[in-house]
């Protein structure tokens, strides 16, 4: 039986993160190639939207990741606040830039998709507006963390902000159900059969997994950098520098 809690110490998490970065990174690259091959080369032209629909293979995974990463940030902030665990705060801080990137990608690719299909780069419907609010929340988290000099206080204050802001994520998710929006409803759900061709669904799911692995790899790489910054004076760091 592995005692998982031993990885709560930065010293023991650091090498684990290094291994995971390598594995997840390479797997993400491979799956991206496969997913894009399916999406751009193999999947047929859509009956209604023509070739423009192919942006779904970036847009949907990025949107999913933007929501998942914010929930993960809130989760790790809660763990950090409850248990006073500094590695949890480092994880939350490391997730934020990737989440902001995913959010921006979702909005940008959405605009690129909206222009040929809806005729507009941007509409102020519920889902787009709440996703834009999510981007502001990510940027607010990063700004608050950067503005406070004391690391511990910055972590905890930004953690409270993440917990307050996570209320927005269910609003984004359910916005297409609660409001009459231009953005299409859920085509993929856990309970019902998917309402899209299976080859397109396969490509989208492979890209989703690729985005997950990419996010994990990049976040853990960032956590390693944060550990090196914050734990610079620890004894085990000295040994690390000697062996490097």
């Amino acid at each position: 039986m592995i005692n998982w809690f031993k990885y709560a110490a930065p010293q023991r998490f650091y090498p684990l993160a290094g291994t995971l970065v390598r594995w997840c990174g390479w797997l993400a690259a491979l799956l991206t190639l496969v997913g894009l091959a399916i999406g751009l080369l193999i999947a047929p032209t859509d009956f209604q939207q023509g070739e423009a629909y192919r942006i779904i293979f970036i847009h949907v995974p990025a949107s999913w990741m933007s929501m998942v990463i914010f929930v993960a940030m809130a989760f790790w902030s809660a763990i950090g606040l409850a248990f006073n665990a500094r590695l949890a705060f480092m994880l939350a801080r490391a997730l934020a830039p990737t989440g902001a990137l995913m959010c921006f990608l979702a909005l940008w690719t959405g605009a690129l998709w909206g222009k040929p299909t809806w005729g507009a780069w941007w509409v102020w419907d519920a889902r787009l507006t709440s996703e834009l609010i999510l981007l502001f929340l990510y940027l607010g988290y990063l700004s608050l963390h950067a503005a406070i000099d004391d690391t511990r206080r910055a972590d905890r204050a930004a953690g409270v902000l993440a917990l307050v802001g996570v209320v927005n994520v269910p609003i984004i998710y359910f916005s297409v159900k609660w409001w009459n929006t231009l953005h299409q409803g859920a085509s993929v759900s856990v309970g019902a059969a998917p309402r899209m061709a299976s080859i397109m669904l396969l490509g989208m799911l492979i890209m989703a997994i690729a985005f997950w692995l990419y996010s994990i790899a990049v976040t853990l790489a960032r956590v390693r950098i944060l550990i090196r910054e914050r734990e610079a004076e620890a004894a085990w760091m000295e040994q690390l520098k000697e062996t490097a």
Partner: protein, 234 residues
């Protein structure tokens, strides 16, 4: 000589809240320029829009609710920083943290006093500005009603931002940056209520959501602000 038992010197929760509320009110009333400045900002910003977009009556009537709501938002955010700043500077805030009364309730008392001297005045001044935009009397009244429910929300959620950015350099701008995204739903439903009434549609949905948001924020926002205060002062 028999020893008299010490009288229980603590006051109750409600009494301490009332005490803090009255103290904050007195402090604000002694320095009325802060309140007047927020009100003046509201009026000036609302007056800038007709000067910027031109005086066509139809256009002003259409953008009036949104413009006035945004101006109220910005004016409320400007005054939010002073909720805790003075008490932080002279050490009163630390004493409040040490009080046996739950900090969330003390924060609620401060927010109430702050709202009475900022948000309430904005809501009461809004019908006059609505006339400036050529809105009908009914629309002006609905605007005031929506602001009456919305400005407490602004104070409640703004208090979280004020507590998070306590003593941070660049507090004013950072506070607005943090709090305005959280207030976008309030803006949408508040301005939407006035727009709906001007279009002849029902306003009950908008006011229901606004009231629901207020009822949700009343217990939770002071708790979040109290947690943020403890983080800021540890």
């Amino acid at each position: 000589m028999s020893e008299k038992p010490l009288r229980n010197a603590s006051i109750g929760v409600w009494a301490s809240m009332r005490c803090l509320f009255i103290r904050d009110l007195k402090l604000v009333l002694r320095r009325r320029s802060d309140t007047a400045a927020a009100l003046a900002f509201f009026i000036i910003v609302a007056s800038l829009f007709p000067l910027g977009v031109g005086p066509q009556a139809a256009l002003l009537k259409q953008i009036g609710p949104g413009v006035l709501w945004v101006a109220a938002l910005l004016a409320a955010m400007l005054g939010m920083a002073r909720l805790f700043a003075d008490d932080f500077a002279d050490g009163t805030l630390e004493q409040l943290l040490l009080s046996p009364t739950p900090l969330a309730l003390l924060v609620l008392a401060k927010i109430c006093a702050h709202w009475l001297c900022s948000g309430l005045l904005l809501a009461l001044a809004s019908p006059l500005l609505a006339l400036q935009f050529g809105m009908t009397n009914q629309a002006a009244l609905i605007l005031a009603a929506s602001l009456l429910i919305g400005t407490p929300l602004l104070s409640l959620i703004g208090a979280i931002g004020a507590a998070l950015t306590l003593g941070v350099r660049g507090q004013g701008m950072l506070l607005s940056l943090l709090v305005l995204p959280l207030l976008i739903p309030v803006l949408i439903f508040g301005a939407g209520a006035v727009d709906a009434s001007m279009a002849g549609l029902g306003i009950s949905a908008h006011f229901s959501v606004l009231a629901a948001l207020l009822l949700l924020a009343l217990p939770t926002a002071p708790l979040a602000a109290a947690a943020a205060l403890r983080i800021a002062l540890e």
